[in-house]
């Protein structure tokens, strides 16, 4: 199949099946993120990239046979390696022995948040999440440096389908409100900063798909996006530095308020807000970069 367009759509289906598998393994937060990112944003970004190039893959004259042999051998070696694993959910597995029971026990006492995944992500392993956020931020900055962001005046008006114009406005509002709900509800249900940022960006992407890029760029100018991303990282690291200046360890939320538990709540709130802000601005920045490129090329 050399039609890259069909490949992208099938990729979306593949992401969704992966999300279903995650749901089957009771990993709700991961399934949420995979569905939001894989089926929504990745499809849109890959289509934006496909716009800049051709639709059909070039015929390659290299031999596929050697590659197939290598892939088969590596795959077989990996599967052979997994035969040594303990079965899924085995209570004696090393995964379930060292840190995981501690987290499960300590979350109700020390953090008081029902969603253990959020507690682990934002509080117990907060430093790793800070690293992730910085990685996302750097990805956005790199794309911006390589591709530029485009200007609002470069885009022509979209052809209109009236039903879409009418339907999409409340839909965008609903998506944005839902993103905020996911952001702040992450303590109690599935959700959190990453998913919320992606859904928030999807709202803007929907607006720009139907109403045109120029309108979206007037609503949220492109030069704000790197600043918002930096603000997100600053919020995250700033929370850590605040507790540092109060005499505690970096990113120890107990120092943020009077009682440790409310300190943890406040810390998780701020940190997730930072993550959501960075993820939102980076996804939208990459979208602006790709679509800005298209306008310059096709003029």
């Amino acid at each position: 199949m050399r039609d890259l367009f069909a490949v992208i759509m099938l990729f979306g289906i593949f992401s969704f099946i992966a999300a279903l598998l995650f749901l089957d393994m009771d990993a709700v937060d991961v399934a949420f993120t995979e569905a939001a990112v894989g089926a929504g944003v990745t499809t849109v970004l890959m289509l934006s990239a496909l716009r800049l190039t051709q639709r059909y893959e070039n015929v390659s004259h290299r031999h596929a046979g050697m590659a197939l042999v290598v892939v088969t051998l590596t795959g077989a070696a990996l599967i052979y390696g997994t035969l040594d694993f303990p079965s899924l959910g085995d209570p004696n597995a090393p995964v379930h022995e060292h840190v995981a029971p501690e987290y499960l026990q300590q979350t109700p006492e020390k953090i008081g948040v029902p969603n253990v995944v959020t507690a682990v992500l934002a509080s117990f392993r907060g430093y790793d999440t800070l690293g992730e956020t910085v990685v996302i931020f750097s990805a956005g900055i790199v794309v911006m440096l390589l591709l530029g962001l485009g200007r609002a005046e470069d885009f022509e008006q979209q052809e209109d389908i009236l039903i879409l114009w009418v339907v999409v406005k409340p839909m965008v509002a609903l998506i944005l409100v839902f993103a905020l709900y996911v952001q702040f509800h992450g303590d109690f249900g599935a959700g959190g900063g990453f998913q919320a940022g992606v859904i928030f960006a999807s709202g803007f992407i929907l607006y720009s798909l139907v109403y045109g890029e120029n309108h979206t760029r007037k609503v949220l100018p492109a030069r704000w996006l790197p600043r918002l991303a930096a603000l997100g990282v600053l919020l995250y690291a700033g929370t850590g530095m605040f507790s540092f200046f109060k005499g505690q360890v970096f990113l120890d939320y107990n120092a943020l308020a009077d009682s440790p538990v409310s300190g943890q709540h406040l810390g998780i709130l701020l940190v997730e807000a930072g993550v959501g802000l960075t993820v939102f601005s980076t996804v939208l920045l990459i979208f602006y970069a790709f679509s800005g490129r298209r306008a310059v090329v096709h003029e």
């Binding site: 709700v28 499809t43 992407i205 798909l209």
Partner: protein, 88 residues
């Protein structure tokens, strides 16, 4: 009865996926992917209720919205793509 509904949904998803593979025109594929997304939302809702997944309604809501955005993106791309730049 809920098991019957889940089975019907899975069979339908397989049928739709077949159409996504063999659809001769691109519009068939777009239609099939959108239908697959809708069936998946239904599968999450019904399956989540049956298997007791935690906060399955949030995921179903989110995926319904994302499916809308994704399908619109595909259609927009297809409208504005310049066919001269394709090489077969």
């Amino acid at each position: 009865m809920i098991v019957a509904a889940i089975l019907a949904l899975l069979v339908t998803m397989a049928l739709v996926l077949t159409r996504a593979f063999i659809g001769p025109t691109v519009y068939d594929r777009i239609l099939a992917v959108n239908a697959f997304g809708t069936k998946s939302v239904l599968l999450i809702t019904v399956g989540g209720h049956a298997m007791g997944w935690y906060s399955y309604v949030d995921i179903a809501l989110m995926y319904a919205l994302i499916n809308f955005v994704g399908t619109l993106a595909v259609m927009r791309f297809f409208e504005t793509h310049d066919p001269r730049h394709d090489e077969l």
